[in-house]
Amino acid sequence: MIQPASKSGNWGLTLAAVVLFLFPVLNAFAPVGSFLHVSDFSINLYGKYLCYAILAISVDVLWGYTGLLSLGQALFFTLGGYMMGMHLMRKIGTLGQYHETIPDFLVFLGWHNLPAFWRPFNSFPFALLMVFLLPGVVSLVFGHLAFRSRIRGVYFSILTQALTYAACLLFFRNSLLMGGNNGFTDFKFLLGQDLRAPATQRWLYLASAVTLTVVYLTCRWLSRTKFGLVQQAIRDREDRVLFSGYAASHYKLFVFLLCALIASVGGMLYVPQVGIINPSEMAPDKSLEAVVWVAVGGRGTLIGPILGAVGVNALKSWTTRAFPDMWLLILGTLFVLVTLFMPKGIVGLPGQLLALRRRYTARFKIAPPPTEPQRQLVKIE
């Protein structure tokens, strides 16, 4: 490690981790009706937010740490979700509407036998492997081409957005045999467990919480290695990095791959908890929303994306119930306000307030006739 960890930061993190893992315990053991009880609904909702937080970290490691504003993280999140979805579809068995052994939408399309590429998804380990393999290959190919051609800045953002949109259109087609615009839904079982059972949802929450913790710790470790230094140097001064003998494109490709895998795992955990996956998850506004979470929480920190993802989505849940038509308007306003007045997001807010207070007290102290030490105090400001 190159940079030492701050001690006060670790306190807050430990507290956050305790709360994170206390939730399912309270859901399972606190009596219903007690103020300590966490409802099944909340566990499911927060489990979903944790998946968004994983996605947000992947956006921030690219954007805040490497200077690559990728609008394609929703693609990898969705691909991971689809790989899991394919397995879940196979586990419905004959419990679908048509009571056939193949998924309902295939029956609807006139298929009688399972297409060959669907067959291995009967196996959970295979689906898990594909969660890593498919986004891994897509990100390596796209990243290699983009970084080799020195595509950066806004061009990189536009290209990743275009890639995601192209995938979105592709998945909308019924002929891809991936469920068309309805996607996959009506899941029943995962690893032999009933998905609607509170215990299963609790385990899924727990899996999301553990994954988020591992992802967080891995990215924190990474940011403190020499790799992390090079990565952040690329963000701040790429030409200097090149002229210091580092192949910046190799470093960017590694980060792009890593973040694709992180997003994909997030998507994999997301699908069994929300019970549906369809191409609208790849629509342009989804990638942009993840960027807003990061901006609101605090770009260039690792706790920021988590706070942003959970915070903005909690706000979204409430807004879409209270003012159903206003959500995108509120999201846009929030983004503008944060960009203008809170450049470091929620994470930077305490520092901003502290600076504001210091300025206020400094101004207040000028009022009495200035003596030497007080004048010095003003000078510091």
Partner: protein
């Protein structure tokens, strides 16, 4: 011919480069001995920085040869490959990693592996720490190791970048206007530093400040419209009719 060229550390022959119809470099021929400290001067747009871009792989020449050492063709390599051969560059505006500490800026410049895998698991060795300390002492930033590079004054950033170049320990240093934005005193110190480096390293300095040129230069190359107009000592350059006409002369007219 090859016999004579063995001594050259850098050779540009018949190099041409056009940007959007503007001929930045035109039939440029430039030879430099190992261990030499060469100063390149020339009016704005003479092609000085373009020449460094061509040498360091940032741009490729349309035609011509650029060779380093015995027979390494630089026109086929990119920036980081050229840097790994031992060619270091300091930019005109200080280019340091502003969010990193001064210590980290030097650390990333130390020689050693550049691979992704090694970067994940490498640790700072005591030898590296010691070397960073030495470099920071040379450039007068010894007390600033833990300061954020972005918080340094302009002149200090210039020094930090020079330090990063020193840490790389390149065979050939390309230094673009090192004295820009420095105080007179800092400029003199920069000159002294460059003079101590000459001999062990080969150095190309691009500079506008004639006092500074006078302080460090043995041999001066004057560029004009993308090719070499004249080469010689500072005195020869300042007394050369053509140089006075295109460069110094024009400056006099401007001053009047």
């Amino acid at each position: 011919m090859t016999e004579a060229h063995k001594e050259f550390i850098l050779m540009l022959e018949d190099v041409n480069k056009t940007f959007d119809g503007f001929k930045a470099i035109s039939n440029l021929n430039f030879y430099m001995d190992a261990g030499e400290l060469r100063v390149i001067i020339g009016p704005n747009g003479a092609g000085k920085s373009s020449m460094l871009d061509l040498i360091t792989g940032r741009t490729r020449p349309d035609t011509g040869r650029i060779e380093y050492g015995k027979d390494t063709d630089l026109t086929r390599l990119n920036e980081y490959q050229i840097n790994r051969l031992g060619i270091g560059r300091k930019f005109q505006t200080p280019s340091v990693y502003v969010e990193h500490t001064v210590f980290e800026n030097i650390l990333l410049s130390l020689p050693g592996t550049r691979s992704v895998w090694e970067a994940l698991f490498s640790r700072v060795t005591p030898a590296q720490k010691e070397r960073i300390g030495q470099v920071l002492d040379i450039v007068g930033l010894g007390g600033k190791a833990q300061a954020r590079a972005g918080s340094l004054a302009h002149g200090q950033k210039q020094w930090l970048e020079i330090g990063m170049l020193l840490a790389q320990d390149p065979k050939l240093l390309l230094v673009d206007e090192p004295a820009a934005g420095m105080t007179d005193e800092e400029t003199v110190k920069t000159g002294e530093l460059l003079l101590t480096l000459a001999g062990k390293h080969s150095i190309i300095v691009i500079e506008h400040d004639m006092t500074f040129v006078r302080q460090i230069a043995r041999k001066v190359t004057v560029l004009h419209q993308g090719s070499v107009l004249f080469e010689g000592t500072v005195d020869e350059v300042q007394n050369n009719e053509r140089v006075i006409e295109v460069y110094l002369g024009r400056k006099k007219k401007e001053n009047n």
